[in-house]
Amino acid sequence: MVVDGLFYTKQHEWAKIEGDTVTVGITDYAQQMLGEVTFAELPAVDKQFEAHDELAVVESSKSASDIYCPVTGDVIEVNSALNSEPELINRSCYEQGWICKLKVTDAKSIEELMNSKQYEEFLNEL
């Protein structure tokens, strides 16, 4: 499932852009590939990231996967609900399973992202 209005990376992260705030999570395709998520290592608030930096780690019973930052910015909020309920990433990857919010410091970094149609095409080619 791909949600219209969000932006996507080739590593299967999504980004919701509202002004200069970007909410980040992983896509339905990614959560399906991971299996049951049992742990999420969230970034520290205020930490600065460049696009493509390792932002978080999501672990399932079978693997540990890096989540890459889709844009360049500073972390302003993390989804602390994931500390006690990491499975929210499986249950609601586009809503309750969001990972963190960033304040974009380089608007250009947003331009590299795919829109939902482009991401869907990308998935079809996999």
Partner: protein
């Protein structure tokens, strides 16, 4: 890459890379799960999970699970030399194996390298069925061929020792094998007996199946399909079966079991649950708790009883005699919390004693209900039940490395534990 020189009696085998094969049930899997959840395992495209690992794990503990094991190697050893040959190449004693019984054993080369762990089924005085690991099958076949052609050494202390036995060895999975061909489908869990019994109306056959004790087997036609019905398995379930059927009938039996087992709570299970169940039960996986990076011996793995050193001779006996005497590490089963927010323990994470000294490493770990169960390679002193231990997680991300987490840990290193653990009994039955 430069090949290192082989030790005397060492059997060297290099598997050529090839495309993963499809198991006899490949098309059945595609009906139940997405192609993206299939992965190359031991040279076969196998399902990782159907519903979810935890759901499938639970089904086997509370009801029953169905596993595609048709990728496993199934070989026949037949003829007047078959028993003596198996006694020569495997560590357990085939002479004590009665018809209708199964036996766990090891194949070891003359240098003492463990080539595989196997199950030997005695079907007759001169007829055996041997199940080998899918990943080891090409190596075992090459080894057997080398033995039969006189190219493999039997005894490093007596290189002139020649093989004077010539059993007929055939692959029971191949169509050329004919009507008695066999592949393995596992039906495991407390409801598995009832599911099997529901497949036949014949009271005599029902009685025959009920009478099969653990590590025994029988042969019967159920729902028109000729089956070897064996009380063996790899999940730790007290009631569990492996059904050996013709490759041509495998899909039919699979569908029949799934359909009829539904009302009993039967779930198809993938590799994920297969692994979590065997870890929870304490069963070794070749390459992890046996052989592998630490070259773990049967004695260290907790299976010294399957190596019969009192036998006059078997290939690798000298090496095994040595290894039975000196070892100070052992496989232990340990329990760690799986509460919300606890990071999963993984292979190579360090195991610490109460004083924070590294006494070994994690070999395999899986979530089982409220706990994580792990098999670890640790100092003998730390294998006692109820021993408090600690786990040190290795760095798994750049950030953890920046925070000073190590990427590998040596024995006796002094570390601060990340989470508590406790040693539990080596094995558990369910």
């Amino acid at each position: 890459m430069e090949k290192s020189k082989a030790a005397a009696g060492e059997f060297i085998f290099e598997l050529s890379k090839s495309e993963p094969k499809q198991s006899a049930l490949y098309n059945e899997h595609l009906k139940l799960t997405d192609k993206s959840r299939m992965a190359d395992f031991a040279g076969f495209m196998m399902p990782l999970w159907y519903s979810s690992i935890s759901n499938e794990h639970k089904a086997v503990r509370c009801a029953a699970g169905l596993f595609d094991c048709t990728h496993m190697g199934v070989l026949e050893f037949a003829g007047k030399d078959a028993a003596d040959f198996l006694n020569l190449i495997a560590t357990n004693d085939v002479n004590t194996l009665t018809e209708g019984s199964a036996q766990y054993s090891y194949v070891i080369d003359a240098a003492g390298n463990i080539l595989d762990d196997i199950i030997v089924y005695r079907r007759g005085k001169e007829k055996f069925m041997v199940v080998v690991n899918a990943g080891n099958e090409p190596k075992i076949k090459a080894y057997l061929a080398a033995l039969q052609s006189g190219k493999a050494i039997l005894d490093i202390d007596n290189p002139k020792r020649k093989l004077e036995l010539n059993p007929a060895i055939s692959d029971m999975k191949e169509t050329e094998f004919g009507s008695d061909g066999r592949v393995d489908i596992a039906l495991q869990g407390p409801a598995s007996l009832d599911i099997l019994l529901a497949l036949t109306q014949d009271e005599k056959i029902k009685e025959q199946i009920k009478e099969v004790k653990p590590f025994k087997f029988t042969q019967a036609v159920i729902a028109g399909i000729d089956c070897i019905i064996s009380r063996t398995g790899y999940t730790g379930a007290k009631i569990s079966f492996e059904l050996f059927v013709s490759p041509a009938k495998a899909a039919q039996l699979w569908e029949l079991l799934l359909e009829n087992g539904k009302s009993f709570g039967l779930e198809p299970c993938g590799l994920g649950a297969r692994d979590s169940l065997r870890i929870e039960a304490g069963l070794p996986l070749y390459g992890h708790e046996l052989s592998g990076d630490f070259d773990i011996s049967p004695f260290e793995a907790g299976y010294g009883w399957a190596v019969k050193l009192q036998k006059e001779f078997f290939i690798g006996k000298n090496a095994m005699q040595q290894r039975a005497k000196d070892y100070d590490m052992q496989v232990a089963r340990i329990k760690i919390s799986a509460a919300a927010g606890v990071r999963p323990v993984r292979q190579n994470d360090a195991v610490l004693n109460e004083n924070g000294k590294c006494v070994g490493w994690i070999l395999s770990c899986a979530k089982a209900g409220e706990n994580q169960l792990a098999l670890a390679y640790v100092e003998k002193e730390s294998t006692k039940e109820n021993q408090p231990l600690g786990i040190y997680y290795l760095a798994r991300s750049k950030r953890q490395m920046e925070d000073g987490k190590k990427q590998s840990v040596q024995k006796n290193e002094q570390l601060k534990k990340d989470i508590e653990a406790i040693t539990v009994s080596r094995f558990e039955k369910f």
